[in-house]
Amino acid sequence: MSTGTTKLDVVVSDVVPVNELVTRFHFRRRDGELLPTFSGGAHVVVEMRDGDRTRLNPYSLMGSPLDTREYTISVRRDDVGRGGSLFMHRSVKPGLEMVISYPVNLFSLDLRAKKHLMLAGGIGITPFMAQTAQLAGEGGNFELHYTCRTASLATYADVLRERYDRRIRLYHDDRDERIDLDRLLSTQPLGTHLYVCGPAGMINWVRDRATALGWPSEAVHFEHFAAPQPGLPFDVTLAVSGKTIRVGEQQSLLEAIEAAGVDPPYLCRGGVCGQCETNVISYDGKFIHNDHWLSEEDHRSGCKIMPCVSRFEGRSLVLER
């Protein structure tokens, strides 16, 4: 079994459509016991058994960490993705028995902060649902700025406004409302920590401005699960296990390695945690790196790859796996 991926046998206790794109799923333990404790920002990896295919997708836990009777996740339907969200929306019904991983937190609050400044974009709101519940229970000082496309797609904005009132600021793209980011970042009291979750472009923008305005990297936290991108099929030789495998168009390299019966370590499956980092023994071709883990230097060197999200195009690739 891979590191940190102890499994939980759960049953789907409720499925709630939230808006035209987002559906919420509730899980309870099949044995009726409490689920493991988690902290705001944690995610679980959900196993989706779809015929002969198994997908493993990470989703942030969005319920209150104070309540471990159930876990809740919200899934945004992606009609052009690899099918995980469509499977959740179409095939997962109350009563279905599923397997999820223990919670893992790669986006935790720094509780030494004097204040927590949160920036969410779209479905990136989900980890903040848990973090705000955690902080509110402890009397924590937070402020959440939430950008969404339209009012009807402002998932949970109503719930958050009801719970936290003026600590929640909303920005609607269709009304041309924009965060005055430089002003926001320049007026925070010393000791504020910044958290950002949303599309890659938003995360890069916020990190760049924060750096330019003198925010130390220790005070800037971000989470972006890169979904594995489809691409051209390619062949890989696994030198340690002596196997040659083909990575399909809709398959990630990690999934192809697992399908061949090799069990590499993994945690987030989204290019952020570093667990599945794999050494490259030799290659002839070019890498398509999609992770947030390896340095640019690592990417250029051709010595390492994150098989959860990255691909390869070329004649041959030999991995130390």
């Binding site: 010393l190 305005l213 130390p216």
Partner: protein, 198 residues
């Protein structure tokens, strides 16, 4: 430069200009030269957003060199204790984007870091550079009294009088090295005293 012995023993770097609009420098004695050296790498206009708080020490050197950098604010203090209220007020009113640079003796760096930690700055976010004396600020683990400017090994606690081994074990919270009784079994046993931290 201090050598790494145990994990709590602080390691200092070399000051380098950080991005941001506000820069607060706190330095004593030779620490001024770390700021002057860093200034050679600073972008134009950098010191227009800088405040330098300097404890010159007895010989009063380096004041002119710092003034020549034309910081937006320049403040001289006779001791760390005398600048403490001002430092607390500055940090209490500051916003994110303020960068902190500490240069000089370990006692100065440690005590300024202690105040900055309480204000919410992560210790790894601060720029530090050790210059000048190796004298240590020491806490007696027995009576908890702090003795400043310890240069010898062993050293006598200025509060309870015990003879203490000055360890590399350092507390960021207390901004002090730990001093442990060196002759607890037999107080008449007095090891030779060396000038270990000149």
């Amino acid at each position: 430069m201090a050598a790494k012995t145990i994990i709590s023993r602080p390691i200092y770097g070399t000051l380098s200009p950080q991005p941001g609009k506000h820069h607060l420098f706190i330095a004593d004695a030779e620490g001024a030269l770390a700021i002057v050296d860093m200034a050679k790498m600073a972008p134009p206009g950098f010191f227009g957003g800088a405040e330098i708080v300097f404890i010159p020490g007895l010989d009063g050197k380096h004041v002119a060199a710092l003034e020549a950098l034309k910081p937006a604010q320049f403040h001289l203090a006779p001791s760390f204790a005398s600048l403490l209220p001002r430092l607390k007020q500055t940090l209490g009113n500051a916003h994110m984007g303020l960068r902190l640079y500490l240069a000089g003796t370990e006692g100065l760096i440690g005590q300024a870091m202690q105040v900055a930690l309480e204000a919410g700055i992560d210790h790894t976010s601060m720029q530090t550079e050790h210059r000048g004396s190796l004298a240590r600020r020491m806490q007696c683990v027995h009576c908890k009294g702090i003795t400043e400017n310890v240069t010898t090994q062993p050293a006598t606690c200025s509060h309870c009088g015990l003879l203490l081994l000055v360890r590399d074990h350092y507390s960021r919270r207390l901004a002090a090295f730990q001093g442990v009784c060196i002759n607890a079994e037999d107080r008449s046993e007095i090891p030779p005293t060396e000038e270990a931290f000149p």
